[in-house]
């Protein structure tokens, strides 16, 4: 909600600067951003009463005092004769109507109305609708203007099952379904109550006689409708959060005053239906309870002064204002007091809890340690899938049809993760995921499962580089070292996968409950204290690989050369490793195979850029006696 600083300060007796105002708004819990004179407010959903100038001013008055600058039409108003029936008072316990006829609708706007549309009001429509919009901004109560001449028959409010096309006053067509609160006349729906009026009874530039409807709709009756029908509605936003049921006559008197500011009134009539359910809420005065909630030592006078400043009436008890739907208990009042004192001004007080031992030697932690030690990377996947197996749990309102059920296995997620990394030139992939999996039978079944997948080279060192990840590899560290066939290793065929790679894929999935305790008893957790490294963003540019074959004739320098190579670093070197080490006994030489992977964060590297870098990084090694790269 946007509020003009100049408009807001009109309602305050002191005139705080924008900075002072901003600071106090934050203290009260009203988040906002400031753009010039406009405060863009983001209010919590319990504070519907603050969605207006007077609403915010009521809260701020505790710091800056209140200025009574709302002028009302105070003369007597004739009773309105209107054929209206409320068939659902539960949804709309109170509703009022004002009928006004004016002589001429073509008028020049007074500065307050003109300024509203120049700053935050958007496009003008017609006098009555414009006043309605301004009033919503000023007082927080939405009103709807029907062209009086367009309603010839009985007006009915009801909550009914609809199956109709409704044309809104903004011209869009909405297909109404299920139950909705609507106004209808002559069997035609003329307004989607609390959300938006219809085109057939909307006011126009020429409307001279208007029927203004001012209602309290139960938030439960309105909620979700504007989103369901994709209608952007300030009125719905306010009704969903609760408006002031006791303010209807005041609002319509203000409406009349603004009309009178602009046009000559021929007639005014008013009628109210229903009751402002007059259960005034009173809370006993109990400052000790407030201190007990907050941990403060406030005295009664301070307590009541703060509440009065916020607009509470204090008699024998604390009377909650009719617009404060969020206040029911002492805890609510405690929050009011804390807001006035300032959360940051309440002194901290330590609690006395004893350290307890953590749970990091559990099964999950042991599995994680084992897998990380063996070079596996943990992934976390979303559970949504379209696989729709018999046991899958269906989502009633999925994000889309590809995500309309919960996975009943980790397999497809891990295959996707594998293929994703293969497409990014990864040639040694070891991934695992541990997650709860939910399936349905007679009841919903929850199982914590481990899934792991491998494909490609065993590793990037000279011992493992030419060996492929296979069944034996997994068997060795999962089953053989534990002397049992606990983990079933399956090969996943690439036939149905969208890939040209040939490396075999092996997969294991097992519920943790099926792994015997004896397996875990042999495992330990080696969890180091977490060190939050500084993350370096990943480059989206392609990488290039260069392999170099070194021939070393002087045995004294072998380790020195490897050390030099291992310590080469550069911003365009993504990775490097010794992938081959070969002793040629006959020729008395050692051959090293060393791989560099180049990648830039800024661009795709050209061959000449890579070659230049290669010359730069390799020259110290090649200047060493007895070291050469054949052909270079």
């Amino acid at each position: 909600m946007k509020i003009n600083y100049l408009d807001l300060t009109n309602f305050l007796s002191e005139k705080p600067s924008k900075e002072e105002l901003s600071q106090k708004l934050f203290q009260l819990g009203h988040e906002h951003e400031i753009h010039g004179d406009i405060f863009d407010m983001e209010l919590t959903p319990n504070r519907g009463d603050c969605l207006s100038l007077i609403g915010l001013a009521r809260d701020l008055a505790v710091f800056f005092g209140k200025s009574n600058s709302i002028e009302l039409f105070n003369d007597d108003i004739e009773p309105l004769e209107i054929d209206f029936e409320n068939l659902s008072p539960k949804d709309c316990p109170k509703i009022s109507f004002l009928e006004i006829e004016i002589e001429d609708s073509k008028v020049e706007y007074k500065s307050y109305l003109e300024n509203f549309f120049n700053t935050i009001g958007g496009n003008k429509a017609n006098l009555f609708t414009d006043i309605s919009n301004y009033l919503s901004y000023e007082l927080g109560q939405p009103t709807h203007c029907f062209d009086r001449e367009a309603i010839k028959n009985k007006l009915i409010f009801e909550n009914k099952k609809c199956n109709a096309i409704f044309k809104t006053l903004l011209g869009s067509e909405v297909s109404l379904k299920d139950r909705n609160c609507v106004f209808s006349s002559n069997s035609e729906i003329i307004s989607l109550a609390g959300v938006m009026g219809g085109a057939s009874t909307a006011c126009s530039f020429n409307t001279k006689k208007v029927l203004v409807e001012c209602a309290y709709f139960n938030p439960e009756s309105i909620i979700g409708k504007s989103i369901k029908y994709n209608l952007v509605s300030d009125a719905a936003h306010k009704f969903e959060r609760g408006v002031d049921i006791a303010s209807q006559e005041m609002v319509l008197r203000r409406f009349t005053k603004i009309v009178k500011d602009h046009a000559k009134i021929k007639s005014i009539r008013f009628k109210s239906f229903g009751e402002a359910h007059n259960e005034d809420l009173n809370i006993p005065i109990n400052v000790n309870k407030i201190n007990k909630i907050l941990g403060t030592s406030l005295n009664k006078d301070e307590y009541l002064k703060h509440l009065k400043g916020l607009g509470f009436d204090i008699l024998d008890e604390i009377k909650v204002p009719s617009y404060r739907h969020d206040i029911e208990t002492n805890n609510d009042l405690a929050e009011e007091i804390a807001r006035v004192i300032g959360y940051n001004n309440i002194k901290s007080n330590p609690i006395n809890l004893q350290k307890i031992s953590d749970n990091f030697d559990g099964k999950v932690a042991k599995l994680e340690s084992l897998l990380v030690k063996n070079g596996f990377f943990e992934v976390i996947n979303f559970p949504f899938t379209s696989s729709n197996e018999k046991e899958s749990i269906n989502i009633d309102n999925p994000l889309d049809s590809n995500r309309n059920s919960l996975r009943e296995s980790l397999k497809n997620s891990l295959i996707e993760n594998l293929l994703y990394n293969e497409r990014r030139q990864k040639d040694s992939i070891k991934l695992f995921e541990i997650s709860d999996i939910y399936t349905k039978g007679i009841q919903i079944k929850q199982q914590k499962k481990l899934g792991l997948i491998i494909s490609g080279r065993q590793g990037h060192n000279y011992n493992q580089y030419s060996k492929k990840l296979d069944q034996k590899y997994l068997n060795n560290f999962l089953n053989e070292s534990h002397g049992k066939d606990i983990f079933e290793i399956v090969e996943i065929s690439r036939n149905s996968l969208n890939t040209k790679k040939k490396d075999k894929i092996y997969y294991v999935e097992i519920p943790l409950e099926e792994i015997p305790d004896s397996f875990f008893s042999k495992l330990s957790t080696q969890r180091k204290a977490i060190d939050f490294i500084e993350y370096k963003p990943i480059s989206e540019y392609p990488s290039s690989t260069r392999d170099f074959s070194f021939v070393i004739e002087d045995m004294q320098v072998v380790h020195e050369i490897i050390h030099m190579l291992n310590n080469i670093s550069d911003e365009i070197i993504k990775d490097s490793f010794l992938f081959d080490y070969y002793k040629d006994d006959k020729r008395k030489i050692i051959k090293l195979g060393y791989r560099f992977i180049f990648q830039s964060h800024l661009k795709t590297l050209s061959d000449s850029e890579i070659n230049k870098k290669v010359n730069e990084i390799l020259s110290p090694t090649l200047e060493t006696d007895g070291v050469s790269i054949p052909g270079m």
Binding site: Q27, L353, D358, D436, Y462, I530
Partner: protein
Amino acid sequence: MSNLDIINPPVIFNELGTIHPINQTKDFLLRLLSDIGFEEVHGPEIETEEFNFDMLNIKKSHPARQMHDTFYVENKKNVLRTHTSPVQIRSMLESKPPIAFTSAGKVYRKDDDATHLPMFHQVEGIYVDENVTFANLKDLIHKILYELFGDNVQIRFRPSYFPFTEPSAEVDILSDSGKWLEILGCGVVNPVVLENCNINSNKYSGLAFGLGVERIAMLKYGVNDIREFYKSNLDFLAQFK
């Protein structure tokens, strides 16, 4: 020239994998909380509306219960939990104060855009005893944030709204760039929630807080895009050694 046999082959360094950075961060928070005295409790991700909403004083009219915010499953019989608070409710029903529980894990909201994911992780805590106050809550939150961001971090409490706490607060820290960043939500447990869990709210009071694990991980590691955590890109994962 020396004999080849006396040359030792180069040392092979064990190529370690990594635990996912979100789980590392989650575990960090759990350890921090167990050091303070919170015991971890567990519960299901598929919840009833009763435990996910009703018991937590989230009324039928609350926007969070709408189909556009919460995933409903199996013909609206259940929901994917929208927070880990129902785990605490379940645990409170089975225990008597004083209690200090923490629950951690995956939660779901019907969101999917550049800054919101349909699944993310929370760590929440609740402490119920006699005479627990807002002043106690402030002290606890300061402790947690000093552990996370150092003793010099500037902390700001702002009034907020959660149906299950009253008073409620959101807490910000001042970033290096001078901007306030929202870090967590917390509050004094709403007595209605205690009563729902058969705890006498005249005798006992409580405090509760919840942290978004992704948010903490993003700040601590300097990851700017939340979606990076869930691409399972090895170049990404390998950094968190």
